[in-house]
Symmetry: C2
Subunit: 740 residues, 2 copies
C-alpha cells in the first residue's frame, strides 16, 4: 500500500470509527420492532411505532394537550366482537385473526424465507350476489383476498373463511411490479441508511446532528432495466432540529438507494454538499408552539348545530341512510374509503333506485417536474405504492370534521397478519354552509309576491390521508337533489428542495429553479397531482351506455334566421372503449351521460347520470416518459371500460416499480364493447401546482371536485316538495365560554 | 266594397267586439300606475306594482304565511335620515330627492316630451381621491350620475349635489344602444299587448282565459337595420291558470313587437296556434301548495350558530370589517353588488394591503340556441338591459342566507326620480361548512404524533337577482388565507318552449327540439350563461402587470436524466392588451398573475394575486353573429385593460339594442399598453345548459366560481398562527321544537 493510500484508508477508518462511536453514544439507532398496532391517534400512545422517531419529544415539551383540541372524545373500540352484517362489510378483527391462523399453517409460509402480508382485505362477492342480497338473508361466503410476500416472490391468495380453503389465484410473481409497501417496510427503510458509515459521515459533514435526522421512504418509480427483479426504494432525509416541520429542512442531494427486501444500502448519491440545510425559523405550524395563542383568534366561535341530532344513521356499522340516500361505506387500506351500492329514493315511487355500485379513489399520480438526480424519480402513486387508506390518520374532531360528525374506524392488517384499528379514519356529517338548494323570487313586474327558497344541506363522507408531507382530503358529498360530488382537497406540506439561493435576485435563469423560491434556501418544486376515481355506475341496473352529448356550432342557412349560429346537442353513444376515451375541450364541449337505454321517463328520455367535470388539469408529460407510461391512466380525463372484477386499480394491481403494463390505458386500448353493458367510468381530477410563498410552511387547502348528477333520472326536480327552514325549528344556543 | 270583403270586415268587427266585451267584463285591464315604491318584499304589500298582476291571489288563497318562513324579522328602515359617510357610499334617499329637485327645474325637463330617469347612481370620485381619503376627512364632492330620457333622446348628466350644477357629459344620443329599461317600462310593456284586438283574439282562440295571461318583457337584441332608431321590445305570454309557475305554460309562437317609447304594438307574430299550452300539473313549487307539508321533512333542523354573535361589523352602513379583511360594500341597480377597496391585513406588518379597488358583475349574456322565429332573439344581457340590481329581490332570512346573516338594503330611484328602498337586497354572513383551512398529520413512520387542523370559516356577501324566470345567486366569499372567491349560482325557472310532442318517441330528429322534452308539451331549450366580472385589482397599489405563467413541456436531452420530460413554468409579462386576451387551454395551461413589480417579498418574488378559473364554458357562437358581436366580451375568458373610468360595462354603457360597438372586445382591440399600469382584469364565467327533467318545474342550483388568490403576496401562509376549534368555545344548544 502506498503512503497516500494508507493515509486515505486511515482517514476513512477514523471517520467511520468516529461516526460509530458518535452514533451509538449519542443516539439509540436501534430500529424499533414493527409492532402490530399502529394506532398513534393518541399522543401518549405506547405503540413502539408511534414512539419510534420521537426525537422531538425527547428534547422538547409535549404539546400542551390541555390547551389543545380535544381528540377522540368518543369511545375507543377494540372491535373484537364485530361481526359482518352486510356482504360488503370489511374483514373484522375476528376474520383477520382467522386468516392469520389459516395462513400460519399453510405450506407457503412454512419456509424460513422472510414473509409478510402486504394486503388482507375482503374478497368482495360477485356483484349479482351482492345486489340480490337483502337484509336478513345469510351473507354470501366470506373470503379474504391476500397479497403475500415469501422471500422475493408474491402470491395472491383467496382465503375462504368458512371452509378454511386457501387458493392461490396468481403467482408466484416477481419483477413486473410489486405490491403496496407495508408500513413496517416504510418504517424500516427510514432507519436503514444509518447502517451506512458513508451516510452518517456525510450527514455529520454537513453539520447536521444525527439525532436530528428524519428520513422518508420514497418510492423510486421505474426507469429502465437496472431496477428489474429487485425491489428498491430511495430514502432522503431532513433535519428536524428546531422544528416539527422537518420537511422544510431538506438535506439536499443526498439519496440512498435501498434494497427493500434486505434493507441493504445499494448506493448513495451525494451531490448537494454545497447546499445549506435551510433554517427552521417560521416553519413550525403547531398551535402549541404559537408565541401568543390569544392573538390568533380572528373569529368568534361558529358551529354547525343540530339540537335534535343528525338525520342519518349508520346501520350495522357500515350502511349509511340519510334523507333520500342509502349507501355502504367502508375504509380500505389501499383506496381509503369505498362507497358501495349508492341508491337514491325516488320521490314518486318511493323505491330505492341504483346509482353507483362502487366508487373509490383508484390511484393517485404525483410527478415532480425536476429532472435532476435527486428529484427525477419523484413520480408517486400514493394508493398503489403507499396505501392511501394506510396513510389516512385519525381525524381530529371539531377541526377535521364539525362537531355534528360521526366517526368510523378502519380495521387493517399488519405485515405479520395481526389486525389493528385505525380509529376515526372516516367521518360522516351533515353540512350546511348557508347555501341554496333552489330558489325563485318574482319581480314586481309579474306582481306575484313569491319568495320561495330551500336551504341546501348535504351529507359528507370524509377521510384525510397524509402521504408523508402531503395531505389529501377526500369528500364524498351527497345532495338531496340526487347529485354526488367527489371533492379532493390538498393541504399539508410541500416537498421542497434545498438551494444555495437566498434571494431571487441571485438567480439568473428563473426556470433552472424548477419551482419558486419560498424562503431562504428553499425551493417549492413544480408538480402535478392526479386523483383517478373508479366509478362503477349502475344507473337503474347494470346495463348502461355512455353517451357523449356534444355541443356543436350550427350555422343557419341564408334567410333561415336573423341569427347566424346556434348550438345544437349531438348525442353519440359510445360503442367501444376508444369512444369512451375523453379529453375535455373548452371549445368542443360535451356532456358525459351514463344512461340506461332500457328505462325511460314518462316522456321518453332514457334515465341517466352525468359526469360533470369542474376545474382540472391534464398530464402534459411525454407519453413515452417512463412515469407517464406507469401513470398512463392520466392520458385522458375520462375512460369507460366494461366491468371486470380484476380491473380495480388504474395503475395496476402491482403498482410499485410497475412498467405500465397493467394500467387502465392498456386495458382500454383493447377497445372492448361498452354499449348497453355493465360499464365503469374513470375520472381523473388533476392539479398543477406551482408553489408560492403562501404554501410555506404549510399549505392552505386547495380543492376541486367533479359531480355525478342525475340527468332525466327523475321525472322532475326531486326536492320540489321539501320544506324551507322555519325559525321555530332552529336551535336555541348560548355560549359557555367566558366572554372575551 | 265587395260582398266577400264585407263579410270579412263583419267577422273582424264581431270578433273585436267580442274580445272587447270579454276583456272589459271579465278582467280589469287597466295598467296600474307606476308607483315609486317597488318594495314587494312583504306579501301583504300595498304597493300597486306588487298588487298589479295578482291574478292568482284573486282566485286563490294567499300562501299560509303563518306556516311560511318568517320573512323580514328585522327592522324596516325608511333610510330617510341616512347620510353618506364614505366616498363610495351610494346615494342616500336625501341625495336622490335633491337630484330630483335639481332636475325638476332643469331646462332639459321643461318640455312636455315624456321623460324618465333610467339610472341615478353615485358618480364615484376619482380613484386617487378615494384612496387618499381616511375616516374623519371630509367627503370628496358628492355627485350623481344620471341617465335621462327626454322624448326619444338620452342624456348622461352629472349632478353636483353641493353646488347644484347639472352638467351634460354625453348626449343627446339616440339609436346606437339604449339605457337599461326602467321597471315602469317593463311593467307597462307586459300590459301593452292587451290593447291589440288581434292579440286578445289569438289568446282566446287558443282557449286561454285572458285573465290568466301573464306576459314577460323580453329585450329584443339587435339583428339589423330594421330596428334602428327605435326602441323596441318583444312580449311573450303564458297562462297562469292553475299555477304560480306560469313559465311552464307558454303560449308558444306568439310574439308581440312593441315600440318601447310609445308602448304601441308594432307587429304580432303568431305562429304557434297548433301548439297546445302545456298543463299545470306538478308545476307549482310553492310550499304552501305542497299536498302534505309534513312529508317534506327529509332532515332534522340544522343551523350555523354563533352564540357570541358574528365576527364582522358593517361600519357606517357599508364598510365591512371581518377577520383580516376590510372592504366597502354597496348595492347597485345595474351591477347588483359592488365590492370596493378590498384590503387584507398582513399578519407580519399588521398593515392593511390593497388587493382589489373594485369588483362587480359587469354584464351577463344569455343566448338561447333556437334560431326559429319566436326564439332567435333571446340573447339577453341581464345587467345592461334589465338591471341586475333592479331585479335583485329581498332575500329570505333563514333560507336565502343562514340565521347568522345581516342584511343591507338597496336605495334606488324610480323613473320619476323618487327614491325607493329595496329591503334585504344583500346579506353578509360567516359560513362554516365543516371544511378545513389547512391540516397536517404525521404518519406513524415519522413517529411524530402530529394532528394539526384548522377549520375553514369564510365571509359571504350574497345577492340573488331574479331576472324574470332565472335566479342568479352571486356570492363574494372572503377567506382568511387571503383568497376571494366569486361564485355564481343558477336557479329559478327555465324559459321553456311549447311543443305538440308529448313523448320523445314522437320526435324524429332529436335535434329539431333545440333542447330536451321535459314534460308533455314542454321543451327546455339549450342556452348559455356568461357572467363577466370587472375586477379592478390594485395589488399593493395601482401599478400592476399581468403575467401569464405558462406550464410548458420540456424534453430532456439524451443522457440528461432518466426522465424524458417535465414541465417548466415560463413567465410572460403582458405588454399590451392583446397579450391579455386569454382563452383557457387544458393542454396548454397557464396561471394568470397580477403582480406589483415594484414590491417584492423578502426573498425577491413580486407580490401578486392570481385569477384561478374553475369549471367554465366558452361562447361558441360565430363572432359575426349579431348577438355574439354584442356579447363580444365573451370572446375570451380573460381580458386585461388599462384602467379607464368610462370602461365599466363590458357590453357598453348603452346595452339595450346595442350593435356591439362599445364592448370590452372593441376597447381591448385598441391594444393599449398594460405593463406596470393601473389595470383591470375581466373574467367571464360560463355555463352551457342543456336542460334535463330535474330542472322542471324549478331548477336545483348549479354553481361555479373562480378565485382571486394571493401568490407570493404574503411572506408565508397568513393563517399559520390561527387557533383550532376548542370544545369549550362552541355553543350549547337545545331544540325548542316539539320532538317529532
Amino acid at each position: 500500500m502506498e503512503q497516500k493510500s494508507f493515509f486515505r484508508f486511515l482517514l476513512l477508518f477514523v471517520t467511520a470509527a468516529f461516526v460509530f462511536v458518535f452514533t451509538t453514544t449519542n443516539f439509540s439507532h436501534e430500529p424499533p420492532s414493527t409492532a402490530a398496532l399502529f394506532d398513534c391517534s393518541d399522543a401518549s400512545s405506547s405503540s413502539p411505532i408511534c414512539a419510534s422517531r420521537n426525537f422531538l419529544f425527547k428534547k422538547q415539551h409535549r404539546p400542551n394537550t390541555k390547551n389543545g383540541p380535544t381528540t377522540n372524545p368518543t369511545r375507543r373500540r377494540d372491535h373484537v366482537s364485530d361481526v359482518p352484517r352486510h356482504p360488503l362489510d370489511p374483514l373484522t378483527v375476528g376474520e383477520i385473526n382467522r386468516v392469520k391462523s389459516l395462513l400460519s399453517t399453510h405450506a407457503l409460509f412454512s419456509s424460513r424465507a422472510p414473509h409478510a402480508l402486504h394486503s388482507v382485505v375482503l374478497e368482495e362477492p360477485d356483484k349479482n350476489l351482492v345486489k340480490k342480497w337483502e337484509k336478513g338473508d345469510p351473507l354470501p361466503p366470506r373470503k379474504a383476498s391476500v397479497i403475500a410476500r415469501v422471500g422475493v416472490d408474491y402470491h395472491v391468495l383467496i382465503v375462504d373463511l368458512s371452509s378454511g380453503r386457501v387458493e392461490e389465484v396468481e403467482g408466484p410473481g416477481r419483477g413486473s411490479g410489486f405490491p403496496t409497501m407495508t408500513l413496517e417496510e416504510m418504517n424500516d427503510a427510514t432507519w436503514a441508511p444509518f447502517s451506512s458509515a458513508d451516510f452518517n459521515r456525510t450527514i455529520v459533514s454537513r453539520g447536521v446532528d444525527l439525532s436530528d435526522v428524519a428520513c422518508l421512504p420514497l418510492s423510486s418509480g421505474w426507469f429502465g432495466k437496472s431496477e428489474e427483479n429487485r425491489r428498491v426504494m430511495k430514502v432522503q432525509c431532513y433535519s428536524s432540529q428546531g422544528t416539527a416541520n422537518f420537511y422544510m429542512r431538506p438535506i439536499e442531494g443526498l439519496t440512498v438507494l435501498l434494497d427493500l427486501d434486505t434493507m441493504e444500502v445499494i448506493e448513495i448519491s451525494d451531490t448537494g454538499r454545497v447546499i445549506p440545510v435551510p433554517g427552521s425559523t417560521n416553519t413550525d405550524y403547531r398551535y402549541a408552539r404559537a408565541s401568543n395563542p390569544e392573538e390568533t383568534r380572528l373569529l368568534n366561535p361558529i358551529s354547525i348545530e343540530q339540537p335534535r341530532g343528525p338525520s342519518f344513521v349508520i346501520e350495522d356499522g357500515h350502511l349509511v341512510r340519510w334523507a333520500n340516500w342509502e349507501f355502504h361505506l367502508k375504509p380500505d387500506p389501499r383506496a381509503g374509503v369505498v362507497i358501495s351500492r349508492a341508491r337514491v329514493r325516488d320521490p314518486e315511487t318511493r323505491e330505492l333506485r341504483e346509482v353507483m355500485y362502487k366508487g373509490f379513489v383508484s390511484e393517485l399520480f404525483v410527478p415532480y417536474m425536476d429532472p435532476t438526480d435527486a428529484w427525477y424519480f419523484k413520480t408517486y402513486m400514493d394508493a398503489g405504492e403507499y396505501g392511501f387508506g394506510l396513510q389516512a390518520m385519525p381525524l381530529v374532531p371539531l377541526n377535521d370534521c364539525p362537531r355534528n360528525a360521526e366517526y368510523m374506524d378502519g380495521v387493517f392488517t399488519a405485515a405479520d397478519g395481526t389486525p389493528y384499528v385505525r380509529e376515526n379514519m372516516v367521518c360522516v356529517f351533515e353540512s350546511y354552509a348557508g347555501d341554496i338548494a333552489w330558489r325563485h323570487s318574482e319581480s314586481p313586474i309579474t306582481g306575484l309576491p313569491i319568495r320561495e327558497v330551500r336551504p341546501k344541506v348535504t351529507l359528507v363522507v370524509r377521510m384525510a390521508a397524509s402521504v408523508a408531507n402531503y395531505d389529501y382530503i377526500i369528500d364524498w358529498e351527497f345532495q338531496t337533489d340526487g347529485l354526488i360530488r367527489a371533492k379532493v382537497g390538498l393541504s399539508g406540506i410541500l416537498m421542497v428542495k434545498g438551494t444555495a439561493y437566498e434571494n431571487k435576485n441571485q438567480v439568473k435563469e428563473q426556470e433552472e429553479l424548477h419551482g419558486t423560491l419560498l424562503s431562504e434556501n428553499v425551493i417549492g418544486v413544480i408538480h402535478d397531482h392526479f386523483v383517478t376515481f373508479h366509478l362503477d355506475l349502475d344507473v337503474d341496473g347494470s346495463n348502461n351506455s355512455f353517451v357523449k352529448v356534444n355541443l356543436k356550432k350550427e350555422e343557419t342557412s341564408p334567410g333561415e334566421s336573423p341569427r347566424k349560429s346556434y348550438l345544437k346537442a349531438v348525442r353519440n353513444v359510445a360503442k367501444t372503449e376508444k369512444d369512451g376515451q375523453i379529453k375535455l375541450k373548452l371549445y368542443d364541449p360535451s356532456e358525459f351521460h351514463v344512461i340506461n337505454a332500457g328505462k325511460t321517463t314518462r316522456v321518453g328520455n332514457p334515465t341517466g347520470y352525468k359526469v360533470v367535470p369542474s376545474g382540472t388539469a391534464a398530464s402534459l408529460l411525454d407519453h413515452d416518459d417512463p412515469p407517464q407510461k406507469r401513470g398512463g391512466f392520466t392520458n385522458n380525463q375520462i375512460w369507460v371500460t366494461p366491468y371486470n372484477k380484476s380491473e380495480q386499480w388504474a395503475g395496476g394491481l402491482f403498482t410499485y416499480q410497475s412498467k405500465g403494463e397493467d394500467t387502465l390505458a392498456v386495458w382500454s386500448d383493447r377497445d372492448r364493447d361498452i354499449e348497453n353493458k355493465d360499464i365503469v367510468v374513470w375520472y381523473t381530477l388533476g392539479f398543477h401546482h406551482i408553489p408560492c410563498q403562501e404554501d410555506f410552511p404549510i399549505m392552505p387547502t386547495v380543492s376541486s371536485s367533479f359531480d355525478l348528477k342525475p340527468v332525466n333520472f327523475f321525472e322532475r326536480n326531486p326536492i320540489l316538495r321539501v320544506a324551507p327552514n322555519f325559525e321555530q325549528d332552529l336551535p336555541v344556543c348560548r355560549s359557555d365560554a367566558i366572554p372575551g
